[in-house]
Every structure is written in C-alpha cells, then in structure tokens.
Subunit: 346 residues, 4 copies
C-alpha cells in the first residue's frame, strides 16, 4: 500500500534510527538532562544564529501547542488564531483545557491578515468594557498553515511588529516547518523566526522523526520553571534522550533540510501528475500538501490499487475534497505508482 | 559510567529496536489506528485473559496517571492515594491541573492499608457535611510502590472489595509492573489485576521501551470518547505506531516477563553485594529498587570510579539516603564493577 | 443623575427589601437549606407547571452560565453559541476557565438560526475526523439576546428538537427573562421553557433583585451533586436565604411579571421619545434595550444634564452606538427628564 | 427556634439593612465602580493605616479563598495549609479546580507551626528533585482557625518572615476575623495584618452582612487585571453596590468591631453556662466557637426544646462532638434559653 494520506504514515529516517541504535545502551540522565539533548540544543542554536535561544523537546504537536501557548499567557489572556488554526479546530479543545480561550479571527487560505489583526487590536483597546473580555496575549500562526500556505517574511514582520506594539507574544506552529523552509516560495529562514517570534517549534514528527517537536524560545525567553509546567501537563519524558538523539541527528549534516527538500521535490512531481490527469485542484500549494476534488468512485478505485489519500471535506454526495501529502519518505516510485493508477482510473 | 540511578538510564531492549527497524517504512494510519497497536492490544488481552479489555497506549507515567485517573472521576470526586503516592508528591500537581484533588491517606512503606481505607470511607459517608467535601472517586495504588514494596493479592482483593462496596474505581500505577510480576515475593498476576482493578497500566518506559505505557481498562471499561480526552490533554501521538510496535515486541515471546526477571535477578545480586560490604539498608525491597544510607564521601568515591546512584533524601549533613535501581539492562558486569568499587571505597 | 446605562443601576424592589427586613433575624440553616429557598422553589415550580423541576439559586449571570453550562457537558464537549453570545464575548473566558470551548456560530441580531444549527450538526457528524474535535454538547441561547431580540416559540421548538435529535442539552440564559416574558412580541412562556429547555435561568439581578439568578433544571434534570459543583466553583452562599427570600418575593403576587412589565412599558415610551427627537436607531427591539447612534457631543450634553446611557461601540470618531436600557425601576419621570434633555440638546 | 449551629444563621445587622434601604434607588454604576464601594474601600484603608492597600469585595468565603489564593500563585506553585485548613478539607476542591495543589502540613489545634514550616521549606529547597514537585507559593492561614484558635502576633511575624525569606505570599482567611479582633486573647490588629500579610480578607458573611468578604491586598499588591480574574471565575456581581454598601456600613461607627465584640461577649457567657452544667469541652477557644461532647439524647432533647447546635464529628455511637457558635446576633436571651434547656436536660 502507498499512502498519501498524511506526512506521518512512516517511521523515522534511517539516519535517526541509526543514532538511536548507536547510543542505545549508554547510561544517560533522564528528563532531558542527557548529552544528546544538550548537543541537539546547541546545534539548533547554531542553526538559529541565536546563542541565547532556549529549547525544550516535546512529543507531539497538540502537546506543544497547548503547553507553549499557555506558558506565554497571563491569566486574563487568550490566543488569537485564524479560524482554521489547528488549535482552534482540530485539537479537541486543548487550549481551553488549560483554561484559556482561543480568539478566532478570519482566515485567508489558512492565514491571518496583518491588517485585520491591526484592526482587531485597535478595536479591542478602544473597547471601554475590555476588562470584561478575554485579552489577546498570544498570536498563534502555523507555517505552513493547515492549508499548506506560507507567510511571507514581510507578513511575519508586520505581525511581529504588531505583537511588540501591543505587548503580545508571537508563537509559530512549525509542525511542518521543514516543508516551508524547503519551498521555493518561502523567503523565511530559521534565523528570521528566531528574530520575529517569541516562541516557535521545529516539527519532527512530520519531518522524519518517530516523534518529537523542538520548542524554541529565542533570546532567552523560556518562561521560568518551564520543565515543571511540562511535567504538570504530562509532557515530560523520563527518557528525554529519545527526543534528544533524534533532533541531534536531524541537525547533523543538514538532515532536517534534506528531509524537507524531499517532501517539496516530491510535491512538485505530485502536482505535475495530478495536473496531467486533469484532476481539479481545490487548492494548489507551495508546500507538501495538495488538495484536490475527486469523485468518490475514483477514490475507491485508487484504494483498490493500493493507493490512499486523506479525507478533507465533503462538498457534495458524489465528491470528496482529499489531501495528497508528500513527505520526507515519499519516493519517486510512490509517485510513479500514483501516476499509473490515475491513468487506469480516470 | 555505570548508573544505578534509575531504571530509565538506557534506551530500549534490542528486540524492540529491531522491530522498529523492520516496520519502519510500512505506511500505517496514525493516532493508534495502525496494525501494530491492534496486534499489541490483542496480545495484551490474551496475557490478561480478558477479551473485553480495552487498551490505550500513552507516552509516559505522569501523563498516564493524570489522563486515566481523571477520566475515571466525576466532577465532585478526587483520588485517594498514599502520602507517598507518585501522583501526590512527584508529578508537579498534574492531577490538580485536571481540576481534581488528591486525597492523601497514611502510607506504610509506600502502601495504603486496607483497614485504614475502610475507616476513612466509613467516616466519609458518616459525615453530614460531605456534600461540601471532595468525594473519593478513585483509589490510586502503585505496584511496586515508590518504595519498591508490593501489595499482596489479599490486600489488593480487600481494597478492590472496598472500591466496589463504595462505588469507587481502583486504578493501579504499574510504571514498574514488570519488576513486581517477576519478584519471588509477588503473588499477584496480570490476570489478577484485570479482575481486581478498573484501570491499570503496564509500564514500558522503565521496563525496556524507549517510551510508552499501556493503559488497560479491563472488562470493556474504557470511558467513552477516551481518545478525545487523550487528545485534549496532549497525549495523542500522530505516529501511534511508535508505541504499538514497542508493546507488540514486549508481548512477543514473553519479552516483558524476561526484562522484569533480569531486573529482579540483578537486584538479588545487588542486595548480596551491598550486604557483603556492610552497607546499611534504609529499606530492602523485593523489587528492583534498594535504598541504603551512604556517607557522602563514599558516594563521591563511587562517582570517581564511574558508578552513580540516585539521591533520595538527606538524613544528616554527612549522609545521604540513595537509591540503587537495577533494570532490564543491568548486567552482571555492572554489578561486578560496583562490587569492586565498594571494595576499594569502604 | 438618571441612568439608562443598564438595567442594574438601582438596588432592589421595595417588596423584596421588605421581605428581607421581615425575615432578617429568623434563624435559618445555611447553604440554601432554608425555608425561603424551599418556598421560592415551590412557587417557581408552580409557575413552570413542572412539579419535577429542580432549582438552584446562584448569585450572578456569568457564574450561572459557567456553572450550569459546564455541569451539562461531558469532558469531550463544548458549548454552541452565537458569536454575540454573552458567554463567548463578554464573560472573560469563564467557560474556558472550566476547561470547555465555546463553539461560535453565526448570529442574526443576536440569535442562532435553527437552519444553520442543523447544517452545522449534520456537517459535524459527517466529519470523519470528529474524534479530534470538540463535540457539541450544549446549545446556549440568550432570551432576550444581548441585542434585546427574542426567539419565537417556533424557533425555540426547532432548536429544542435538534438538541434532542443529536443528544445535546439546551440551555437558555434568562438574565433578562422578565423583559422577554412581558414583551408583546413574545409568544414564549415560562411553561414553554420548562418543556423545551434542559436548563435555563430566571434572572433576578436585572429584574429587581439585589443579586440572584434561579437556575432551573426542568423535569428532574439537575446533574448529580450539583451543590458540590457550585461549591467547587465558589458559587455557594453561606446565607442562601439572601437568594431564597428574594425569589420568594419575586414569585409572590406576580412581582416578577410586574417588574418585567414596567421595563417593557417604559421601553415603549422610550422608543417613542427617541423617535420623536429623530434619534436614528441602530437597533430597535421588542424588549428593554434600545440601541441608537448619537453624536458624541449629544452624549456629553445629556451627561451635563444628568442623563447617562451606555457605551456599545464606536462606528466612527464622532459618533457612538449607545444603549438605552429601561428596567423594573425606570419611572415615567425618568423618561420625561430624558425627553426634556433631548429637546434641549438636539 | 434558637440556633447555635453557626454564625451565619441570621440575616444582616439592622444598620446594614438600613443603609441598603436608604441607598436603594440611587443609580450607581455596576461591577464595583459605585460610590459605596469607593467609600468602603477608603474606610478600610484608614482602618488598616495603609493608604496603598487595594481592596476587592467578593461574595463568600470559598470564592474569596480560591480567587485570591490562585491570583497570588505562579503556575508551578501550590498553597501551603494546615491539614485542617478550610481550603484543604471543606471547600469541595475549589483550589484544585483552579489547577493548583494544596500542600498540607501538620496542624496544631488548627494552626500551622512556624518551626515546622521552616523545616518544610528548608527540606524543599534541599530536594534535588524539586523541579518535579509542586513548589510552595502561598501560605494559607485562617484566623481564627477552623477550630476557633488564634495565632499570636509573634507567630504571624515568624511565618511572615519565612514567607519573605523564601519569596512566598502570605494569605490569611479572615472569614471570622471580627471574632478574632475582639477576643481578649488576640494581640493582632488589622494594622498588623496589613503589614504582615500579602493578602487577607475581612469576613462579612459571618460578622453581620448578608454576604460579602473584603479581600485586601496591602501596600498596592493586588495582582494585575484582578477584576478580570474575578469575572473569569464568576465572582463579579453586576450590582457591586450590594457589597459596597454593606462594608461601608460595617466600617462606619466601628460597627464591625461592635459586632465582633458581641460574638465574643456572648461566647464568654456561653462557656460559663456550658461549664456550669458540666458539659465536657472537646475544645474551649478564645473566639466565638466552642466544641463540646454531648450524648446524642441530650442533643435531641435540646432540639425538642428549640435549641440547635452543629454536628462536628462522631467519636462513638452514643456521643457527638458539636459546635456551639455565637455571633453578632446572639442575644443574652438566647443564652438564657440554652441555660434553662440544659438545666432541664442534663
């Protein structure tokens, strides 16, 4: 079976597994105090060109979003996010479980608009009743967004400037960051994020790791007692080495960049194949996720040929919007098989 | 360096890593829907002799304790635990972060006393003001306890009977369950737990896995929408296969039992070595953790010889109570090195 | 000074104060066990024609919304509300403080549309990923709404039917219920609410009481241990008699109905006065709140003449949308003063 | 019927009701912005000799404890309290509902011992694993305690010094503060509390008000956006005047002191009566609560004569520990009736 359902259908890149094997029986202290966490953090700080950056490794995306966002909030504050923001719609209310509200703003192909954000903030601070409202405290962006779209450096700079003007924290969800950084349409670098954001994470789960996200607080900005906060919310692994070794491998010999590049290279080929077979795009994106509309019988026919894509939404009883995702592990052979199957099906 | 600091200083048993390697590039659905989670659950059900048991794989102990215990509670209830219960003293308030109180009862070498529990419950239900109190809802036990001690089958049966009498749920923390089951002093089996408990977990992190705990709800007792509860609290891994493959390996060819046995066999040797060198026991236990009192200079001397043990408490300025833990990965060579170092030190 | 800022600018109706005086020194048990709470509940049950209705007296609106709504939710559920719902925008995130999400739907002059609600629910149950989402559990309506508008009996019946179809609870915020029931445009009775809702409250604070809201759970539907839930969230008054005596008075000799009627009668006169002076309505409503657009200089001029209205929003730098609210205590003399002041100002 | 069950069996002192009547129809702004809240705060500041003190009026004791204590905590902190502390045992887990743990220490007739507190803090800061624990953040005392006992000024000063040494906040629950201040055995004044505590409250509900507690943050120490925090937790009354008018009356002509004095004067007489009839004391206290052991038939006999006392605990099947509480409203006639009834009963 070949799956384009998501970018988390396979295990870990062999270089990562190899490092897990090599380091397996070395005794190491627990809870992230091990040598590999230390080494990985140092490599990430170098990649960010931020020697003061503080880094904490967590297990998954929802966990990272909830723990990091809430750690940046004051009790009277909530998180601003686009309507389509993962924290707003697809994380089972994990932010609210922390006692904080997600304040939803309009989305534009998954993105917040800096002008609308400015208008919202001006209106909020003009509201005489604002002490009865949830105050904005964090702006949450995802990059790539849930729709595979990208912020430009200018857009991020504008949003960052608004955050500083209004004393908000800017938090960027980088669950798929590797596929943003490798996209030819992306003018944002890791160093830019370290300068513009107050926190962001470098996603591992979807970019070649078994699990793991590297939460980054640039410029020494980790909230005090953050480990305790992580522990209190069940996110602290006894064998922190599992995360440290993986990120150490990901930031050795530019593995993270190479994995992102594979996802993007395969996505380019995917778009060509889909277009060649006349599949109508619901949304064509510069990253590793493509959204197309397929008749349900075509989906079933592909499945019968061992090829799966992911359910997104149901515009009418006979069609489905599906997602085709490439990833660090997608091969040219996978795409050739899709090409052949589409040829037999459509 | 040789570490007796804890049972989570090394990675995973080679048979587990081997299975991760073999299955690495197979596409599998996410969020625990993969073939390995299914297979592992089936093997655990067989080991429990409970075909209706429902199982969910989580990442770590604090996460499992908080998510499972809270899922069993009604809003007006809290968790009864011994003063030394891990949830009461060493998990950064993770139960309270869920909005529930831990109701502490006296401990006896880490254990709850069934008679004291009965007295507490009788007093609670005799209190005319009880609607203003936190009601007991779950009884939390750890087995082995934080002090390495064990409940007898009779004690568990007595506590279970009290729970059923008063409509409480019995939840057993099995972070180190493998070392209980392998202990010659343990008359409790997995099947007993499936009959006596409402929930328990089979600890992986401390018994040979990179991470992972198998939360078991015997007799079809998993709370509804449990996956959503896990997601809401950040415990759902996208690549659930990481947990499924590991538990599938642990329950293949009795690996879990073999790993527990190694921890216990080495603990027997450890106790002999400590006794031979005249090290005074603070607490000698039937499982894999031994507590001794060492002069601080001996601890430093051992460290200089590459041998580490774990801080427990400080009875006076010159001595420390330390923990020596064996584990699935402790070797006879490790113990020989300790023996030699103690010979040179004491 | 005469205030039209809100319907909570004055104290309590004299008949209520009189009852507080008369009963003041009688010893009564605490926490709502007193004779006046019992009597008030019985009178409300009779007014509802629901002998099984269960009633709990709370202190204020936000408290009642958060405590009642959360008591009706399962852990995986949130509250559906209009974008303008008070719980969504004006209660400082009190629902989220309970760990639950408010799921916002479009609003139409403050109201949910039954057809849109039906569409939302159909889409939700058609979403294959719904286990990762917050499930709808409660539908929150306010009646009158935050905009002073009213649901028709047919609309409430349609929403109630949807709730029963999808196993949701219907909760109606009646902070200003007295002004709905007295409105000539309202075809909904207390008895209708008792049949259509799973919970609602009869607002006291804005309809003549010093404080207090009567939360009603028709047909024996109060969640178990509700008193404990109230206590846990700080809503239980030691001297519950304060609430019991007030509601006993409100439901004696139809005081609650009379107070609502005064608010509506004065609102009719208010609308006539505003229209006579050519004040443009932003929204004219059938209840006790009217929204008009005033030049800022007129607002200041009214204030100089001792007349205040309430800030609502700022459409442009020179104008403000303001709210004029009448209430149980508004007098014809108050309106005559407004009439005169407008005559001098406009 | 005459009730000694508690100090909240009657309504409000007539001077308070009189002020509610006099101010009833004046329009006032809501949410504590009214003139009476302002005036009451100023009078309290004068009584405290602390012009910088910040004051917020809340409705009841549990609400005040939970909202104030949590507002002083950092996310990694909990509240230290005696085992018998009201927040630990009798508030349905309201602190935990805020996500924070109560860290219980031994009690001595309801009091924390400064030496034991010092030992605890030294041990905590000596624990190498303390980042995995709940950190102490607030010390909670009640004065009088739940057992009616009192801290000496020296004890409070010692505890306050420990708090400052370890950067903890000292919060004192003054639900019955009036009865402490009037006790001949009390050497602590309101001004002392303003100097030694970081927060405390002056209880109204049990000292003559219908409801209401004045939370005091001496020296400008109210946490930022405290009103929002109160609103978020359902504690903000729309008609804040209800609280303002009552505290304005309580701090006019020393009413609060007079009411405390009545409670103490009657308690002295009560103790004499109980002693005269040979009733064995379980605990004789310097404040308004006395605990005695009565045979159950005596309790029933007193009830038959219209006299009630409060259940406390059940030492054996035939006896009950009961509380006799005097209050601001207890009269010499009440005590004469008790005296007569005891004479007929024992």
């Amino acid at each position: 079976m070949i799956s384009f359902e998501s970018d988390y259908t396979t295990g870990a890149h062999p270089e990562i597994l190899q490092r897990l094997l090599e380091t397996n029986l070395e005794p190491q202290p627990g809870y992230g105090e091990d040598a590999y966490c230390r080494s990985a953090k140092e490599k990430i700080r170098q990649a960010l060109c931020d020697e003061q950056a503080e880094i904490f490794f967590l297990s998954g995306g929802t966990q990272t979003n909830a723990i990091v966002a809430s750690s940046l909030l004051q009790p009277w504050q909530g998180v601003l996010a686009a309507q389509t923001g993962h924290i707003h719609g697809h994380e089972a209310g994990a932010i609210e479980a922390m006692g904080h509200k997600v304040l939803a703003l309009p989305e534009h192909l998954g993105k917040l608009d800096p002008g609308e954000l400015a208008d919202y903030l001006a209106a909020f601070y003009g509201d005489e009743n604002r002490e009865h409202l949830v105050w904005p405290g964090v702006v949450y962006l995802s990059h790539p967004t849930e729709w595979g779209t990208l912020y430009s450096k200018q857009e991020l700079a504008d949003i960052s400037a608004l955050c500083r003007k209004y004393d908000l924290k800017l938090f960027l969800d980088g669950a798929r960051l590797g596929y943003a950084l490798a996209s030819p349409e992306c003018d944002v670098t890791l160093q830019d994020l370290a300068q513009l954001c107050d926190a962001f994470y470098i996603g591992g789960t979807k970019v070649g790791a078994l699990c793991g996200e590297a939460a980054v607080f640039p410029r020494g900005g980790m909230p005090p007692h953050f480990l305790n906060w992580v522990k209190k919310h069940g996110g602290l692994l006894a064998k922190g080495r599992l995360l440290g070794v993986q990120f150490d491998a990901l930031f050795t010999n530019e593995l993270y960049a190479r994995l992102g590049q594979n996802g993007i290279d395969r996505a380019v080929e995917l778009k060509q194949i889909l277009a060649r077979h006349g599949v109508p795009f619901y949304l064509e994106t510069p990253t590793n996720q493509q959204f197309v509309v397929l008749p349900d019988h075509v989906i079933h026919s592909l499945e019968a040929r061992g090829i799966r894509c992911g359910f997104w939404s149901k515009p009418d009883p006979e069609h489905t919007v599906v997602r085709f995702a490439t990833s660090w592990s997608t091969t040219p052979e996978d795409l050739a098989a899709l090409d052949a199957a589409l040829g037999q099906t459509i």
